[in-house]
């Protein structure tokens, strides 16, 4: 029988999770292709074995008492910082606008350079960043880093303590993973981890103030890095 093309494992997983855009085509193919039907059955069996078991009932009373002891009384939040008299609003607004304009001019020069450099690097990159399956510990580091960087990119104010502490933890482990990746000859992953180390150091030493210039710089640095991390994780899914 002439079967033109096999269905990928990803497409079969989508099919079993009712996410497939070509459900009829996949079903039709499975009726004809023994190899894909076997893979499909294996995926279905996996989903059956790992289907959700019962969830225990939470003890509401106990949890309430624990929570009650930990919450403080919330009141009207008093805004910290400088309070200006109304007659100073317009001069202050003028100063802020001038500062923003200056920041845009100063930071746009390196931005264009970085963007052009990133494009060239992408064009000359020989295929995927790494063809090696990622070490589970490194995979976890990359997953955590992706979540952290995405969150930081979406943060507008100063970073909270939990985010800083998470960046610090990731930074401490990062050097070990760079060493491991190099030791296994996985230079693509090692290079991404080195970039990650630089960005994590920036986050770890981020100023406490709501500095929009700092955020812009971080955003430019993380965009290319996030793309690299996602490419690595996508390659890993296909192996």
């Amino acid at each position: 029988m002439n079967v033109p093309q096999h269905v990928s494992e990803e497409s079969l997983i989508e099919y079993h999770l009712q996410e497939s855009a070509n459900e009829a085509a996949v079903r039709g193919h499975l009726e004809k292709c023994v190899q894909c039907a076997a893979l499909s059955e294996s995926i279905a069996e996996t989903l059956r074995v790992f289907s959700g078991g019962p969830v225990p009932e939470a003890n509401l009373e106990r949890n309430w008492h624990r929570l009650r002891g930990n919450v403080s009384v919330l009141g009207t939040v008093r805004r910290r910082g400088l309070r200006l008299s109304p007659w100073l609003w317009w001069p202050a607004a003028g100063l802020v606008a001038a500062a923003i304009a200056l920041a845009v001019v100063v930071f746009s020069v390196p931005r264009f350079r970085t963007a052009r450099g990133a494009d060239i690097a992408t064009l000359h990159r020989p295929g995927p960043l790494s063809a090696k399956p990622t070490d589970p510990a490194i995979a976890q580091q990359l997953d955590s880093a992706e979540r952290l960087l995405t969150e930081v990119n979406h943060t507008s104010g100063p970073l909270d303590e939990a985010t800083r502490s998470q960046a610090h933890d990731l930074l401490l482990k990062n050097a070990v993973y760079i060493h491991d990746a190099r030791a296994h000859g996985d230079l693509g992953t090692a290079s991404v981890l080195e970039d990650l180390g630089r960005v994590l150091t920036n986050i770890d030493h981020a100023p406490d103030s709501d500095d929009s210039g700092w955020h812009l710089r971080l955003e430019w640095n993380t965009k290319g890095l996030l793309l690299d991390i996602r490419i690595l994780r996508q390659n890993d899914a296909r192996q």
Binding site: L39, S42, T46, V55, L60, G75, E146, R233
Partner: protein, 194 residues
């Protein structure tokens, strides 16, 4: 969001912390459920759910009341649960040997002797359970979260992505990786699933 919840939030913000019981009564079990799926452990799930409520309480002034409190608290719970799993993994990596099917100096695992002789079926079931648990533990927290919430809780990919602040494609890839890893982990049981 119904009127009683809006009212409870307004009172909490005015200083009446006992009103948080109203929100807890309504949402704690569902938050705990999500946390249990992600952590796989009842005690950890309680801890993650409590932390989620505490964080929500402390950030209540930033909550936009035109959106759903349930979605908001579930989103926080997903993140506190993942953070807890990451913390646990880190402690496990630092704190010494783990129990596994076989001794491995490389992986730092040890074997525990089974003192009760069991019928063949029980042995097989125990082996299957151990394999299942080991396979789930081997997933990264993000893979585990994406897989359990999509497959076991039937949440849409888009909703999981929004909660984790990630692109939908990243969540999809995490689910693909999880199913792939879990499928391969079953090979010893099935006598060689492809």
């Amino acid at each position: 969001m119904d009127k009683s919840e809006i009212d409870a939030i307004r009172r909490i913000l005015a200083g009446d912390r006992d009103q948080s019981r109203v929100l807890m009564d309504r949402h704690f079990q569902s938050v705990f459920r999500v946390a249990f799926r992600i952590t796989g452990d009842e005690t950890d799930a309680e801890e993650a759910a409590q932390e989620a409520f505490l964080r929500a309480y402390n950030k209540l002034s930033t909550f936009r009341q035109d959106s759903s409190f349930s979605t908001w608290i579930t989103r926080i719970a997903m993140n506190t649960s993942i953070n807890l799993v990451e913390r646990r993994n880190r402690d496990l990596a630092h704190d010494g040997p783990r129990v596994a099917d076989s001794y491995s100096a490389l992986n730092g695992t040890v074997q525990v002797a089974d003192e009760n002789a069991s019928p063949e079926r029980l042995v097989f079931n125990a082996e299957a359970t151990t394999l299942r648990e080991a396979a789930m533990t081997a997933l990264t927290p993000m893979e585990r979260t994406a897989f359990t919430l999509r497959h076991m809780e039937d949440l849409p990919m888009a909703e999981i992505a929004t909660a984790l602040n990630l692109p939908v494609n990243s969540v999809k890839q995490a689910v693909f990786r999880a199913v792939g890893k879990l499928r391969r982990s079953l090979a010893p049981l099935a006598g060689g699933i492809r």
